[in-house]
């Protein structure tokens, strides 16, 4: 895949606010990488290399060492982004990503990205802004999930159960 083809994809999925030149700047800083079907893109607990843009192919995100051995959390189809958090934090990968088919990536390493930031690249700052947006969205999703989980026990609390009973007797069955 040529750089300009890759630039189109990167622009659609990474940052719509980038101009064509800015996109090319980012794409030029990226390294083309291919992973054959069945190979690991990166492994859980590996030190993060950087942001992967999946241009072609399909991968699965798996968690290892759970009670059932390996659990597939998600499958991701191209075009998509993986490991984007590694541009901001040094934490190791929290899951393993395996190629389901032959995959074509562009990798933006942390070192390259830092260089762009040091050079005060507007493109790099736009990417940071996009990532901040993604994180904010994920945080709000997590808040919703938390509220949902904390209000849903397997059994209702005894106090609530009695309140339900009381309501039933005074409203529905008040004879």
């Amino acid at each position: 895949m040529t750089n300009s083809e890759a630039a189109k994809i990167v622009r659609t999925i990474l940052c719509r606010g980038l101009t064509i030149q800015q996109t090319e700047q980012i794409v030029n800083a990226m390294v083309p990488t291919t992973v054959p079907a069945g190979g690991a893109v990166f492994r859980e607990e590996d030190r993060a290399q950087g942001l992967f843009v999946l241009l072609e192919g399909s991968v699965e995100v798996v968690k290892e060492g759970g009670p059932g051995g390996v659990v597939v959390i998600a499958t991701v189809e191209a075009p998509s982004v993986l490991g984007e958090m590694s541009l901001i934090t040094d934490r190791p990968h929290s899951a393993t990503v395996r190629a389901r088919t032959n995959c074509d990536f562009r990798l933006l390493t942390r070192a390259q990205f830092d260089r762009l930031l040091q050079g005060e690249s507007l493109a790099a700052y736009k990417v940071v802004a996009t990532l901040a947006d993604v994180i904010a969205w994920r945080l709000s999703r997590m808040d919703e999930k938390f509220v949902e989980l904390s209000s849903r026990g397997e059994y209702p609390q005894p106090v609530e159960e009695l309140a339900t009973f009381k309501q039933k007797l005074f409203n529905e069955w008040n004879y």
Binding site: E161, L162, F165, K168, L169, N174
Partner: protein, 410 residues
């Protein structure tokens, strides 16, 4: 199915209609307290007699607990549990300020002399005096216990706690008992029937035909009241046999015959009929007033009566009850029909607390009020929710006990 299981069967059926949670169901079924005591006494021959006494206190959310004490070899914790909960529901249906209890002694009283029976009763009071009382738990007569036994309980309890006639009901009229207590269950049963007949547009007792199984306290008083109101009691039976006269039995003369011969069998103005055949007579109202389980899967298909008035406890098995309901035969349930007994026990207790006596007219009027109000509630529920009278009775009871429970707080 034992009596205990039947109570729970009907309770669960109502709980399902009300869609109660399993936890709430368990809370309502579980007894407040169960007590099992050793009763050792010296027998007349000098030997040591050892017996076991039981008292199950089921629920006190609506007031002091109330229920009979029976002296019978089959008494055990299971039986007492089921009957105690039945008392909770029964007192709630007729809206008495009582909870439910039951107990007794595993003994065949016929094997004891009167002196031994008195010692055993007083021993029982010693063992449970701290959990009974006019504001805690008020025993009453039941199978093989009578006014004399209640008098002993009242005396023994009063020796320990000071003068306390209200600790038991069913006492002799000469010792703080109430007028109208003896006939209360039969009177209440006939009142229940009259309320239903009026409500259903079926007229009155006069001219209707009845078959009454059992001629003990409940059966004989029920027959008498039906007869007095112009009903035609065409058949009556007891353990000795039965009497049938399709033109209607003369109950006054039958009572006299039963008093002298100790059975209704052989009554000159009637032909003989068996207990089994009596249940299958083509009458307007069938009144089982003796044993439990007499209307069951085996004979229910041949029952031809237009309705069943359950004066006895649990005369209809759950399967038979279901079939009668499907056939549209109305069953007025025991938990409501025979609640007249405990209602007049309540009046006795109230008189003892007040140290005041009521005239018989007042007893009858107050009993009628309780039965009438209970019936009106049941009837409204039956119409609005399309359930049987029995399920309605349990729903009313669960509602009243449940509301008291949650208002007081758990």
């Amino acid at each position: 199915m034992s009596g205990f299981e039947e109570v729970n069967y009907y309770f669960r059926k109502a709980a399902r209609v009300m869609d109660l949670s399993a936890h709430v169901e368990r809370m309502l079924v579980t007894p407040f307290r169960e007590v099992k005591v050793d009763l050792s006494i010296t027998l007349d021959n000098g030997e040591l007699g050892t017996f076991i006494g039981y008292r199950v206190q089921h629920d006190n959310s609506r007031g002091p607990m109330k229920g009979g004490l029976r002296y019978h070899p089959t008494v055990d914790m299971d039986e007492a549990q089921g009957l105690a909960s039945l008392m909770t529901w029964k007192t709630a249906v007729v809206n008495l300020p009582f909870g439910g209890a039951k107990g007794g002694i595993a003994v065949d009283p016929k094997t004891l002399s009167p002196r031994e029976l008195e010692r055993l009763t007083r021993r029982f009071v010693h063992q449970i005096h701290d959990i009974i009382g006019p504001q805690r738990d008020i025993p009453a007569p039941d199978v093989n216990t009578n006014a004399q036994v209640m008098a002993w309980i009242m005396d023994e309890y009063s020796r320990m706690h000071g003068f306390s006639p209200a600790v038991v009901t069913g006492k002799p009229v000469d010792l703080f008992g109430s007028r109208g207590r003896e006939e209360a269950t039969g009177r209440g049963a006939v009142m229940a029937l009259e309320e239903y007949l009026r409500d259903a547009g079926l007229g009155e007792v006069r001219g209707k035909t009845f078959a009454v199984q059992g001629f003990g306290n409940v059966g004989s008083w029920t027959s008498r009241f039906l007869h007095e109101k112009g009903g035609k009691v065409i058949a009556v039976s007891d353990v000795g046999g039965g009497a049938l006269n399709r033109a209607g039995l003369d109950i006054t003369r039958l009572l006299e015959h039963a008093r002298t011969t100790r059975s209704v069998a052989g009554f000159p103005e009637a032909e003989a009929i068996t207990n089994e055949a009596l249940l299958l007579l083509d009458v307007d109202v069938l009144v089982p007033a003796a044993l439990g389980g007499v209307i069951n899967e085996d004979n229910v298909k041949e029952v031809r009566a237009g309705m069943v008035l359950e004066a006895a406890n649990a005369p209809t098995t759950p399967k038979a009850d279901e079939i009668l309901h499907q056939r549209g035969v109305v069953v007025l349930p025991d938990i409501f029909v025979n609640a007249g007994g405990v209602t007049v026990s309540y009046f006795e207790w109230a008189q003892n607390i007040q140290q005041f006596t009521w005239e018989e007219e007042r007893i009858t009027a107050e009993l009628a009020r309780h039965m009438r109000e209970a019936y009106a509630t049941l009837s409204r529920l039956v119409r609005e929710r399309k359930v049987s009278f029995r399920t309605a009775a349990f729903i009313v009871a669960i509602g009243r006990v449940g509301r008291a429970t949650v208002l007081r707080g758990v």
